[in-house]
């Protein structure tokens, strides 16, 4: 499925997404029980809630999502949309750095431009992409580098996301390597740079004016990267990168450029702000450091693209907004994923992480997809319980129960917990 998606598995995948679209489970569950509105919370402690404490807003092509910022636009996906392996396009989170976001794009004049150190620099129309290249599909999780940043202690600046800066989709498009082959990468190329149509009010030579990211030409992920024109079988919503966006399986979303229009073969390492200064992580085994080491200038950093997303899992149900009943089964459900490959095990604890049981895994849609899990638990006695969930991937990575800390607020993957109340049924 990764590189050579045959027709049958493509149809199977599209069928699964099609079925999801028919039943629209995500749409039926926009809100959990709302007895009282969540009280405002900004810190300085860690955000204790699953999502950020943020207001619902509506945007073109979107269901009500949670607003972090409105110019540039950053919107978080509410928890309930993660009950399914594929996140609905209209609920998919949005994250821009710059505020000039296209409202209208003319496909008659839009071109994908391959520039720089190519044998045959070229411009391709949208039609060219649809007709001249073999379409491929891959299910892959797009997760913001700063997902769950509001958990950090001490808190760090940046988008104060809860857990909803992520989503999984079936992406269909053109292989990057097919494009590179067509244009002919010349010897001496070290990186491939990408830029989209979003622009900012700042100077062109600074990060406030343009957003660009680069992948090393020798990074194995180049083989799996695609330029997607379909998201869950439909054109991308404008806020998710219409007409095409980069899909870099296993990597954080900062590399998944939206509205991709320029692909440049670079003969020198990209030194633009978004590579050289921003989105860098400590060069430590789990990307963790301390405020003291940062202040002392002892931290060597690397671009976050040097690592794949750490393994994570989430409890979606029960969400703590309604009680369970002693003696009755409760379905503990959620999703898990890893940038390192297939999730092979999800464990659930109903005693805060002291003992663990094995959850049943949902369908496998490929190594970079969300995978659902389910664990049926019948609480025997009333009281307050703490649920926890822990995933393991095929490389043997297991979620830690310790927090990560770095000044960017990246790489959070601590074991998630959910407190629930069980009523007596006497």
């Amino acid at each position: 499925m990764r590189n050579h998606l045959d027709r049958r598995s493509l149809l199977k995948l599209l069928g699964a997404v099609g079925a999801a679209a028919v039943f629209r489970p995500g749409l039926a569950q926009t809100s959990a029980q709302a007895e009282e509105a969540l009280p405002s919370f900004t810190g300085p402690g860690p955000n204790p809630y699953w999502n950020g404490v943020l207001p619902f807003v509506v945007y073109p092509q979107k269901l009500p999502l949670l607003r972090l910022t409105d110019r540039g636009i950053q919107l978080e996906t509410p928890r309930s949309y993660f009950r399914t392996a594929f996140t609905p396009n209209e609920a998919f989170y949005v994250r821009y750095h710059l505020d000039e976001i296209p409202n209208e794009i003319d496909l008659a004049t839009w071109r994908l431009k391959l520039e720089g150190n190519f044998e045959r620099p070229m411009e391709l129309s949208f039609q060219d992409l649809l007709t001249q290249f073999e379409p491929v599909s891959i299910a892959a999780v797009n997760q913001c580098s700063g997902n769950s940043r509001s958990r950090f202690q001490p808190r760090v600046t940046g988008g104060q996301w809860g857990n909803g800066a992520m989503g999984n989709a079936l992406w269909t498009g053109v292989r990057l390597k097919d494009l590179l082959k067509k244009a002919g990468v010349k010897a001496g190329t070290v990186q491939i740079q990408f830029e989209g149509l979003d622009r900012g009010k700042g100077p062109e030579n600074l990060g406030s004016g343009r957003f660009m990211k680069s992948l090393d030409l020798n990074d194995p992920v180049i083989e799996e990267t695609i330029l997607a024109y379909l998201m869950n079988g439909e054109p991308l919503p404008m806020l998710n990168g219409f007409p095409i966006r980069l899909v870099v399986p296993g990597k954080f979303a900062t590399y998944w450029l939206k509205h991709v229009t320029w692909i440049r073969a670079l003969t020198e390492e990209d030194k633009n702000f978004w590579m050289a200064t921003a989105y860098r992580i400590p060069d430590t085994p789990n990307g963790s450091t301390t405020p003291e080491d940062v202040a002392a200038g002892r931290v060597k950093t690397v671009p976050i693209g040097k690592v794949n997303m750490p393994v994570r899992s989430f409890i979606i149900d029960p969400d703590g907004s309604y009680p369970l009943v002693a003696g009755l089964p409760a379905k503990i459900r959620g999703i898990a994923f890893s940038g390192h490959g297939r999730v092979v095990k999800v464990e659930v604890s109903t005693d805060g992480g002291r003992t663990w049981g094995i959850a049943a895994l949902g369908e496998y849609y490929g190594p970079y997809s969300f995978r659902t899990y389910e664990y049926t638990w019948t609480p025997k006695a009333p009281g307050t319980y703490v649920l926890a969930v822990r995933a393991t991937d095929e490389k043997g990575n297991v979620q830690p129960d310790t927090p990560v800390w770095n000044p960017g607020g990246y790489l959070w993957n601590k074991i998630e917990r959910q407190e629930v109340v069980v009523l007596a049924a006497k």
């Binding site: 009280p39 405002s40 919370f41 900004t42 810190g43 300085p44 207001p55 619902f56 807003v57 509506v58 945007y59 073109p60 092509q61 009500p64 607003r67 972090l68 910022t69 409105d70 110019r71 540039g72 636009i73 505020d99 976001i101 409202n103 209208e104 794009i105 003319d106 496909l107 008659a108 509001s150 808190r155 600046t157 988008g159 104060q160 900012g200 009010k201 700042g202 100077p203 600074l206 990060g207 406030s208 004016g209 054109p235 404008m238 219409f242 007409p243 702000f273 200064t277």
Partner: protein, 134 residues
């Protein structure tokens, strides 16, 4: 609005009275005022055909900043590149200076030195660990 609230209370009372005697019911018929009109349905787009993919203007949902000296400067300078929602979104910060300096040195914000001082004083006065109201 007041009359509506009375009506709600009355409705709740009737509900409570009616619910008495039903086994297990502690309360029922309890209503509260919802945020009517806070989220509107989109009008279907007027599709013109052709080759232009078009969506509507991006709606602004900009946070209201705390009133105080320096607020206008913040609104004026910070809003050039981004809405001031970026300020209210941040956790309470011990020191806003690194953030303001980043805007100037890294992102090229052009703010006169005197205004920088007032902006910093405003942010410390309303959005720091010591001063931020939830």
């Amino acid at each position: 609005m007041k009359r509506f609230s009375y009506a709600l209370v009355l409705l709740a009372l009737i509900g409570l009275v009616a619910a008495q005697g039903l086994p297990g019911v502690v309360s029922s018929g309890s209503y509260t005022v919802g945020g009517l009109g806070m989220i509107l349905q989109p009008k279907p787009a007027a599709l013109s055909g052709g080759t232009v993919y078009r969506v509507g203007a991006w709606p602004l949902y900009t946070a209201e900043l705390a009133d105080g000296p320096g607020k206008e400067l913040v609104m004026g300078y910070c809003s050039v590149c981004h809405s001031v929602t970026y300020i209210t979104m941040q956790p309470p910060l011990k020191d806003w200076a690194p953030t303001v300096n980043k805007m100037i040195k890294t992102y090229g914000a052009q703010i006169p030195e005197d205004a920088v001082k007032q902006i910093l004083a405003y942010l410390q006065a309303y959005y720091s660990v010591q001063t931020r109201k939830q």
